[in-house]
Amino acid sequence: MKWVESKRRIRRFLRDPEGKIWDDRLLSLLWNDSQQEINLRSAQLETVAVIAVPPRYGCSYMHDWEYEYAAAFGKPYQCWRQHHAAGMSCSHVWETQPAWGVDSGAALTDLGMVFMHPWEAWYSVGDVQDLVPLPLPEDFGQAQFVAYDKDAIDATTYKDLQSRDESYRTRTGEVQYWFRIDETSNEFYLYPRNSTAEWDDVSGAGQILYDDSGDTDSVDYGVIGDWPPDLGDMDIGAVFDALDADGNVLMVYKKNPTNISGGGDEVLDWPDFLTKYVEFGVLERSYEANTDGRIESLRDYWSMRRQVGEKVLRLLKTKKLVDRNFVMTTHSHVGSRNRQHPRLPDTYPAAR
């Protein structure tokens, strides 16, 4: 459902079709607030995304002031290293010498290969000295399952990694973990970094955002949607698209609903049949807001509707579990596996 449709329904109950009391901007703010609350209480939104490795971005920028101009070109990436003490960006650390008054003749030791954009790390002929970031989906909330090249990987912390491996920055090999450095950068890293990458079929050179061999479901974080050739154009039944996880990171996560900016064509994150519960929250907040249209009895009515809606949402989650079917088998059925890790020989020394 689009925002313009939901707004029409909300304005019917507000009896304010012209937006004279509650303007569009206020309604979109209230919508963002309401959907965050509903999602927090009922945890309804989950999804799966494929993040391309090497990662794909819309454009790159160096300094913070460029961000507001870069965002118009798609998901931006801040390239190079940032020397925040001097407010400069640099590729090699010896470039920061003038900021500290160091004689340019006393050059620092070259510290190996550096990259400007993440995909260059897999073209490097030497050790890359920086961690290679991958973008989290914009609506990322909490990871439930992460896999690289269809192999499940576990979450770890930056601190734990630093404690266990002195050379964690340059370690390459089979990916076993993923981690985040902080909560605000919306990036994550693989450890060890995969030494080779699969380059999807693309045309052109450099960082390509679109895969021209098929349809691209989303450009923000490299979700590749592959439409079945016959069903993709049909407007009946159910249309399926497959997610290609080969050589990429597949992530199952709880998602945060995307804030709307008020544009009429914005597609809401919620399934059609659940948007009404968010609308109830908007109506409650609208009648609560200190405007000429404040009516406490209607606020209480829509508050009741919202609370019933939240209970319905939780009930639906229970129904999903109740309706599952299990298949009974015998003990001798091949396929049951209780141990997750390989069994060590009995003579293996015990951990101290």
């Binding site: 049909m234 159910a238 399926f240 109740v322």
Partner: protein
């Protein structure tokens, strides 16, 4: 104007033969129709009463599929049937699969299990080596009706409930919170929010010994 819409107009005091506000055309009746559709969706989901069958054309080496319901909207899967081997698939989850085998995404073979992520993503395990057809029986939110002749498949008492839902929203849109609350309470009583889902109510509870859990395909 269908029977439900006429009943709503009766209850709100409109002249059904010559309505002043909710005229008998798509635009005039739209607010009432919106409310009735919302009620039908909620009743269908809460009771699990509306089911449809989707055919998933599973492709070789693919586990995840995003479903876009063009008519009825997928809510959740109740059963999955593998056509070529004439057997059901077991319900599982991503967490359970990872616990069972961290490399589950690399397994290939005839599918044994299915799982759902969110409202629109379905997965099967293991990923098939060639295309197979999986029949998914699902509870759905029915397509919103938009013409007078569109079928509305609800039990009679739930149709009454839908009418009270729409009347409640009419009074709310007129600013009468008291009447709106009163009709909404009637809706809740008629749907029976306390004892939902008729299949659960039909269960016969009986005592049994404490048996070991049976092994499943995924541990």
């Amino acid at each position: 104007m269908n029977d439900l819409e006429k009943e709503v107009l009766h209850l709100i005091g409109e002249n059904v033969d010559a309505p002043d506000v909710f005229t008998d055309n798509d635009i005039g009746i739209l607010p009432i129709r919106d409310s009735l559709n919302d009620a039908i969706e909620e009743i269908s989901l809460v009771t699990g009463g509306t089911k449809r069958t989707f055919f998933l054309l599973a492709r070789a080496n693919q586990s995840f599929y995003r479903i876009t319901g063009k008519t009825d909207r997928l809510a959740w899967i109740t059963d999955a049937w593998l056509f070529d081997q004439k057997r059901r698939l077991e319900a599982t989850s991503v967490a359970k699969l990872k616990s069972f085998n961290p490399r589950w995404m690399l397994n290939t073979g005839p599918p044994f299990s299915y799982f759902q992520i969110g409202w629109d993503v379905v997965g099967i395990w293991p990923q098939p080596t060639a295309g197979v057809v999986v029949q998914l029986d699902c509870v759905v939110a029915p397509k919103r009706y938009d013409t007078d002749g569109s079928p509305i498949r609800l039990r009679e008492e739930w149709k009454r409930a839908a009418v009270h839902y729409a009347v409640s929203e009419y009074w709310a849109s007129r600013g009468d919170a008291k009447s709106a609350s009163s009709h909404f309470q009637k809706y809740l009583e008629l749907v029976g929010m306390a004892s939902l889902y008729p299949y659960t109510a039909d269960k016969q509870w009986q005592m049994q010994t404490d048996k070991r859990p049976w092994p499943k395909n995924t541990g």
